[in-house]
């Protein structure tokens, strides 16, 4: 369980609960009408990065995504960063006052249908804690377009300490175990904590507590890990005459890409992500983001992809500035001229493959160009996993996944297994050999449920996402239906094989209990049908090709 709404929390669903537990609570509370969604960590992270870069253009040049602790759940019941840190030192004169700055930020987020919790303080720790305490976002103000000044927690250096005294300890980025221990000692707020003798704290509650206290008081510095863009990976051009003429803009983009790739080539780097930003007059800027399969510094290729995406873009106003940056680059694979033809052919083939995949993803969309990963799961629908080939997880996500793979603290629920068996980044170049080895051992551990070429007729080639309910006309004792209606035609079963019972574990979501049969119809088609054991209904689930 990664996140839930307030109504879900009211029926007892908690973050970090197991999927099955939450699902059952939800179904009880909503009479089976509740909706759970699989979590896409990468999409979350990318959305946050996009917000960060938008803030960097709008407010402050130094924007960081909140740092996560060294452990996965360190200090926060979070799986992923959820906050943005802006360094606003010296920029409030540009917005008038700090109040105005906060209001601008608030309006900016609200224009994107987001409800931010804002706090402005002298240290990262204080701002983090204050934004997560008290009612920084009163409900009554939701419809009000001009937020009142009291909505934001803004502290001055002289009175910050007083604000902090009432801050609860759970907003101090501490391990949950540590917070529980403090609560048992009767310590709920920072004010109570600071009165304790400092000497005993580190030995009893761990050195991290001391670090957090010092960070709150500003005794220890905390670096802001802003997204570092190399200045030469960004090129821009201010247009003398703002225009929305597509030809002119396309020409400008191609010129800028030429310039960008020249810079990249000098460092023998290739772009993995390219962002084209078109600043509009009196409107919010438009961004076109490209994710690439393999690093490339080929100007023609990038221009082609960008043109494809640009032609789909609608411009509501004239463009006055075009900038192109490569936020993620990687070392280009060196091409060594070889006497052996095979090696040369292999390099050109991998180059052609990268080109093809980039082209396909540019037109069909990233979510439509997929690679397949097998998962050891007996449930047929969950026996594989599809992942986009372009825009591989980067930065924080891949680090988290690596950590998850190494960490022994996880419970081995199937969803975790799926998470740990991915990565792969076939050519994204940064998959270390250690990861590779661990993946291999994991794959060879239990291949019981994977199909093998030894029994090719066991699984159908086409599997419906939603099993189709069958109208059964006749069955023979406990076996599959001998006559049924499918797509309006009467089908008669000639032969059948089964049952193959498939049940899922109770802890991995809604339980599935089915008896599968392969049947041969009198037309010679092979179908895969099952009986739902809970309701005794028959369904068609797949077709053998």
């Amino acid at each position: 369980m990664v996140a839930c709404c307030r109504r879900a929390a009211a029926v007892g669903i908690r973050v970090n609960m197991s999927g099955g537990e939450a699902e059952s609570l939800l179904q009880v509370a909503t009479d089976g009408r509740g909706i759970t969604q699989p979590h896409d960590a990468q999409a979350d992270m990318e959305a946050l990065q996009e917000l960060a870069s938008a803030c960097a253009h709008r407010f402050s040049p130094i924007v960081a995504i909140e740092p996560m602790g060294s452990r996965r759940w360190a200090g926060q019941w979070l799986h992923l960063p959820q906050g943005l840190l802006l360094d606003v030192t010296g920029i409030e004169p540009l917005f008038g006052t700090e109040q105005n700055l906060c209001r601008e930020v608030d309006l900016f987020f609200q224009s994107r249908n987001l409800q931010p919790r804002l706090a402005l303080a002298c240290t990262i720790a204080a701002a983090w804690g204050l934004s997560r305490t008290a009612a920084t976002r009163p409900l009554a103000r939701r419809d009000d377009k001009s937020p009142s000044n009291e909505a934001y927690r803004i502290t001055q250096p002289e009175d910050e300490f007083h604000h902090l005294l009432a801050m609860p300890t759970r907003a101090m980025r501490l391990e949950p175990a540590c917070v529980d221990m403090l609560a048992r000692l009767g310590i709920e707020t920072f004010g109570q904590l600071i009165r304790l003798p400092r000497q005993g704290l580190a030995t009893r509650l761990g050195p991290e507590l001391i670090l957090r206290i010092d960070q709150l008081l500003g005794h220890v510095g905390e670096p802001l890990q802003a997204d570092p863009h190399r200045p030469d990976d960004t090129v821009h051009l201010d247009l003398d005459y703002p225009t929305r003429d597509k030809d002119i803009l396309q020409y400008t983009i191609s010129q800028l890409i030429e310039q960008l790739t020249k810079n990249l080539k000098q460092r023998v780097h290739g772009a993995l992500r390219v962002v084209c930003r078109l600043e509009l007059l009196q409107h919010e800027a438009v961004e076109i983001r490209l994710g690439l399969f393999a690093p490339t510094a080929d100007a023609d290729h990038l221009t082609h992809l960008m043109t494809e995406r640009f032609s789909q873009q609608r411009l509501v106003a004239d463009v006055h500035r075009v900038s192109i940056c490569a936020p993620l680059t990687a070392l280009l694979r060196q091409r060594q001229p070889s006497l052996i033809a095979d090696a040369e052919a292999e390099v050109t083939s991998s180059h052609a493959l990268a080109n093809l995949i980039d082209n396909l993803a540019a037109r069909l969309g990233r979510q439509s160009v997929l690679k397949v990963q097998t998962v050891n799961n007996p449930q047929p629908e969950a026996a594989f996993r599809l992942q986009p080939l372009t825009g591989q997880p980067i930065g924080e996500i891949s680090r988290l996944r690596n950590r998850r793979r190494k960490g022994g603290t996880n419970r081995s629920s199937p969803s975790r297994k799926q998470m740990s068996s991915d990565q792969a980044a076939s050519s994204a170049s940064d998959a270390s050999s250690g990861n590779e080895a661990s993946r291999l051992t994991e794959a060879s551990a239990d291949t019981r449920f994977l199909p093998s070429p030894r029994d090719p007729l066991r699984r159908p080639l086409r599997l419906f996402n939603q099993p189709i309910a069958l109208k059964v006309l006749k069955t023979e004792d406990a076996g599959p239906p001998t006559r049924f209606v499918y797509r309006g035609t009467h089908v008669q079963t000639v032969r059948s094989w089964g049952p193959e019972r498939i049940e899922t574990a109770w802890w991995s979501g809604p339980s599935v209990r089915r008896d599968y049969y392969r049947i041969e119809t009198q037309q010679g088609d092979w179908l895969w049908v099952f009986r739902k054991l809970t309701t005794d209904q028959w369904f068609l689930h797949g077709l053998f090709g």
């Binding site: 080109n355 093809l356 995949i357 397949v372 010679g524």
Partner: protein, 302 residues
């Protein structure tokens, strides 16, 4: 024999007529072949036909990459094909007249063989999102060899297929095409020739009547296992029978019809059809059966 010639873009250099001596202008046929051809001509009709076939193939495949044919993955199918496999850069159509008659499975075996042949990836087009990768793995196509595309529209489907066929980094493209205009078919054919990629197109039953741009066209449907004990071979419990008919192959006589018996270990053996007329008789006999006829009359009266 249906032979469709590719004479659109290039003028034909050689067109042989059996009575006239052949004068190949291209430097490829060596001069010592001429006496052989002369003797062949004087021989039987079948020799003449095979000579002609070879010549036509040379004219037709002038643009195609010269490489050895890729096996279809099933030796019984290879035996029927003129080059004992599919030439690289060709389209193969599979027509399944049933819902799940085995064409997808046989074609995927071919794609898996093409992957083994070149080591390049196989692109799978799955617009209706029903493709089940574990079954493809069971066919011998490993997960890392697959690129799965899920285009939203039919335009995107054709475009994606064209792009994939055109790429030299792809060994085979496998996809289901319900509708295919002539202009698109020609486009796909040229793309396959450019990339030297094998195109496996699954077509619905209604495509049988339409003209084909493919090198080979198969018609496959499942056959319920014979229940009577008169069948000349044994079918064990888990066997599957597929009826395969070669509707079209450039350079071979079409119309070859046989059955394939697939056992649970995926060993495939060729079987001659239990003749069609017999099953028709069987049906007629059943219709005329006094019991069944009486039942029908009763139903009509009711």
């Amino acid at each position: 024999m249906s032979v469709q010639m590719q004479l659109w873009d290039e003028p034909v250099k050689t067109l042989a007529i059996p009575q006239l001596p052949v004068q190949p202008k291209s430097p490829e046929p060596a001069p010592q072949k001429a006496p052989q051809e002369a003797t062949a001509r004087s021989k039987t009709k079948s020799d003449v036909l095979s000579t002609l076939r070879n010549q036509i193939r040379k004219v037709e495949t002038a643009r195609q990459p010269q490489a050895s044919a890729i096996s279809s993955g099933v030796s019984s199918l290879d035996d029927v094909l003129p080059q004992k496999g599919y030439p690289p850069g060709s389209l193969v159509e599979w027509i399944d007249s049933g819902q799940a008659g085995g064409a997808a499975w046989l074609s995927l075996l071919g794609a898996a063989r093409a992957y083994k042949h070149s080591g390049n990836k196989v692109v799978i087009l799955d617009p209706d999102r029903t493709f089940y990768p574990p079954a493809a793995i069971a066919c011998g196509l490993p997960a890392e060899a697959m690129i799965l595309l899920q285009p939203q529209s039919s335009d995107d489907l054709i475009w994606a297929m064209d792009q994939s066929l055109r790429s030299s980094a792809v060994s085979a493209v496998w996809g289901k095409l319900d509708r295919l205009e002539d202009i698109d078919a020609r486009r796909l054919q040229l793309a396959a020739e450019t990339g030297g990629t094998l195109g496996m197109l699954l077509r619905p039953a209604k495509a049988i009547g339409q003209p084909s741009w493919a090198e080979v066209r198969w018609h496959v449907h499942g056959v319920p296992a014979p229940t009577d004990r008169t069948s000349p071979w044994k079918t064990s419990h888990g066997d599957r029978l597929l009826s395969v008919r070669l509707l079209r192959a450039r350079g071979a006589s079409a119309g070859e019809h046989f059955w394939l018996q697939i056992d649970p270990q995926s060993r495939i053996t060729r079987r001659e059809c239990l003749h069609d007329s017999k099953s028709a008789q069987h049906l007629a006999a059943e219709l005329a059966h006094p019991k069944a006829a009486g039942r029908r009359q009763q139903a009509r009266r009711a």
